[in-house]
Symmetry: C2
Subunit: 505 residues, 2 copies
């Protein structure tokens, strides 16, 4: 009888979870559609549809019925009898459930309005270089975020509570350790590179390159990498993205720039990394909320592994440069070495999203340190522009001439996404550490790349990371794959090896 | 207080209706996506998502809460105080509500399984010319449909109950009247055409016509017709269709055939007619279930008006043939008259979906007479093949050599869509009757077409039909637009005028 009752409880719980996942997929299709070509005039009605479905999903995710099911399944004698997947699903659902029900609906609705106004205001303020106009909105968003931290409960520090949303288990203490190591070594490396007399030539990148040929080459490379077109597609959008509706339906987008032969390509490879992660989650997780990447940082490690570690490597271009040349007859006359160097330029710059793979980390560390100051030290919105400029001067040696190209450049804070930025650099560090293990475990890894044998790399990652979805935490994964915790030295070593060669340091 | 209460009741009712409409739009996007390029491997998960959303929509549509709201709003003193739109919305929602709640959920679930099995079996039976294998499934579908008629309640005849699903208010008496008139005059006209020595040449249609150029020309024609690309898009799919998600987002599809220069074009114009109907529904109806075409017949009148009355007219090609020739340099050397005649061939044939605009009606009348026999006279599934073949002999002068090209050719009956077929010919009759009024009311209508001034035609229809959505019934529309009830003589006159010229009768 007891067992029978548990079976029914588990089934009801799985049904609710499956429903939530179904709403997620439906919403995923609606968003994908909006961003890939939905007619302009349907936007208002579509927003309402999204509102209705999101509301329904929120109701399911916070229902007292779900709370009761969780409490029953969390009884030690019940939990210990569940399979690994079901047990993890209970734990993860509890986490989401508590996070959602701890915020009073009225407070959350106020916040949705405020953060949406703040995002609009930010867009305007950035266009008009008007930080003063944006500041009161940012103050409100920070204030609501502080209220949420109070309701959720502060972890070791208040900022840790925010980090945990995007990188479960990540702490300020851990980030201080790894970012400290990075900063110390990357700042002088960037300076040495800037001083090198051997700057690569990039002029050949900026001709007029036919978009159709770019698309053909991108599709060819996606197939080489192992993106499965029976379980995915490539479209165009203003801002490239990847969305995993289910492992059988993963969609990536890109944006072709006529005056740049590799911009769209590297963007496509980046999204392909996200996409292959989602395509290779094990079938047992389909229809549950564990069927997704485990964290923003691990997801980003895969996009960056494929884009930077592989896509911007010399062996990769030794294999594919000839194919690229054939797609643009008469246009690419530089040697493969010049092509490789031209696609790996390091240069301190003001704008994060245009940064190279070395200085990118410094952009992130600056934002991380400022977020810590806001939530752990009480820094005010009015302090941020000066703080920003000082840190850019210190770490990158340059100063924004306006707030628009300084503290106003990113959308994240305006919408309340505090704690998100570190994921990007975590991704770089995870990727370098995994690549180090892969080099040792995969026989002749770089020889395979130079031969265009890329599927063994994908399969290695699928077997160790992708298939687990959300079944393992980021720190469990990095430990099980590389045999040790996150170590920033792998990224430093990778960058030094690469750029000392390119810049002949 | 009473007014306040009514306001709240109305608001709750509108909220439920808006939610239902939101689910409809979300499902519309999911189906569109499945049919225009969703990855194959995502189908199973997607089916589940569709199941969850459909189930939720069904729950909303049949909830006791909605029943209570309807009862309150139907009180005479309340109903009389509602606006025209709200009052109509109450009436229409009641109709849908009763139809849904009268079927016990268990019976309906059985039926969903049976009709889905029956459709699969039909596909197999058609491929193998095996009516005997399909017959038991068809018997079951007929039996369930008869149970539904009992539960819904028979109207003047049992078959009227089925007709009303697709063409509200339509009756067997009315169809006997109009189809009787049609049949009597079209059978001899088709025979005279077949006997004419002046058969058009069609060989020029069947060269290899570049798909890209076909697409360019289709897009050009859609713009000429007045399809709004800010509120719609054109894609490709195996079976062309139109779907109105909202007036701001209407999607049509087509299928390009390399060996036919006009097949995709006329299909596109057909779907454009459906699409322009949905794009021009008045803003006041958005977010309600009145925001859709009023019936299958009126919808079909618009696709057929644009495809046949306009798209296959001589003035249309006097204007656009030169443009078409330019899209296929050196390929179209026949005169505009030969081109026009080649695209208007009448020939008795066995297959409905390949029929011309004259004999098409005879295919429909045959199916109508058989559906009447099944539901009003108790004809059995085992009687149908012989009945079918006799009627084809009588009306079209030809006999199918197999059941596959006879009684098994259409999917409709296998899935239980009895009462649907008449819509197609109603569409032809409505279209001809409206065109007759338009010719008299729009100054120099055919001169405008010959000048490529097509927007006044669209606007005339939008003002009289499109904008009302489901606010007016089919018979109200035909009466208000043309000043009289449906009169089949307009279609006969139109066809006689057109084909006596083409076939020099």
């Amino acid at each position: 009888m007891g067992t029978n009752h548990t079976t029914n409880t588990l089934q009801s719980f799985l049904d609710v979870n499956r429903q939530i996942k179904s709403y997620e997929e439906a919403l995923g299709v609606l968003y994908w559609d909006l961003r890939t070509g939905a007619p302009r005039k349907g936007m208002d009605t579509r927003s309402e549809v999204i509102g209705v479905l999101s509301g329904e999903m929120f109701k399911l995710s916070t229902s007292p019925q779900l709370g009761d099911l969780l409490s029953e399944l969390e009884q030690p004698e019940v939990l210990s009898g569940l399979s690994e997947i079901h047990s993890k699903l209970v734990t993860e659902t509890r986490k989401d459930y508590d996070r959602s029900v701890k915020i009073p609906p009225k407070l959350y609705q106020e916040y949705v309005v405020i953060s949406s106004q703040s995002e609009s205001k930010w867009e305007e303020a950035k266009a008009q270089n008007d930080y003063a106009g944006f500041q009161p909105y940012l103050e409100k968003v920070i204030s609501y975020t502080n209220q949420f931290i109070d309701l959720w409960g502060a972890k070791a520090t208040r900022y840790d509570t925010l980090l945990d949303q995007y990188e479960p288990g990540m702490t300020t203490a851990e980030l201080d350790r790894v970012f400290g190591g990075l900063r110390e070594q990357l700042v002088p490396l960037a300076a040495a590179i800037a001083a090198s007399p051997h700057q690569p030539d990039t002029s050949f990148l900026r001709q007029s390159y036919d978009k159709g040929a770019q698309k053909q080459f991108s599709l060819f490379i996606l197939k080489q990498l192992g993106f499965n077109f029976d379980a995915g597609r490539l479209d165009e959008s203003v801002h490239p993205f990847a969305t995993g509706l289910s492992p059988g339906d993963v969609r990536i987008t890109t944006r072709y720039l006529e005056d740049d032969v590799t911009s769209a390509l590297f963007g496509t490879i980046h999204e392909c990394g996200h996409g292959m992660y989602e395509q290779n989650i094990m079938g047992e997780l389909i229809g549950t909320t564990l069927c997704q990447g485990t964290s923003m940082g691990i997801h980003e490690s895969q996009s960056r592994f494929w884009e930077n570690v592989i896509g911007r490597s010399r062996p990769f271009w030794e294999r594919y440069y000839g194919d690229l040349q054939k797609h643009f007859p008469g246009q690419l006359n530089v040697s493969v070495d010049e092509f490789y160097r031209g696609n790996n330029v390091v240069q301190p710059s003001l704008i994060r999203i245009e940064a190279d793979e070395l200085t990118y980390n410094l952009h992130i560390i600056i934002r991380y340190e400022m977020e810590k100051l806001i939530f752990n030290e009480g820094a005010k919105a009015s302090d941020l522009p000066a703080l920003w400029n000082d840190k850019y001067k210190e770490y990158l040696g340059i100063t924004p001439s306006t707030d628009a190209e300084g503290v106003l450049q990113d959308v994240h804070w305006s919408g309340g996404a505090f704690g998100y930025f570190p994921s990007y650099s975590l991704g770089n560090m995870y990727a370098a550490q995994m690549a180090d293990t892969m080099e040792r475990e995969l026989p002749n890894m770089w020889g395979s790349v130079a031969d265009g044998q890329l599927l063994p790399l994908r399969d290695w990652l699928a077997e160790r990371i992708y298939k687990y979805g959300k079944l393992r935490t980021p720190s469990e994964l990095i430990q099980s794959v590389t045999g040790k915790p996150l170590d920033p030295q792998h990224l430093v070593t990778y960058l030094e090896r690469k750029y000392k060669d390119i810049y002949k340091l």
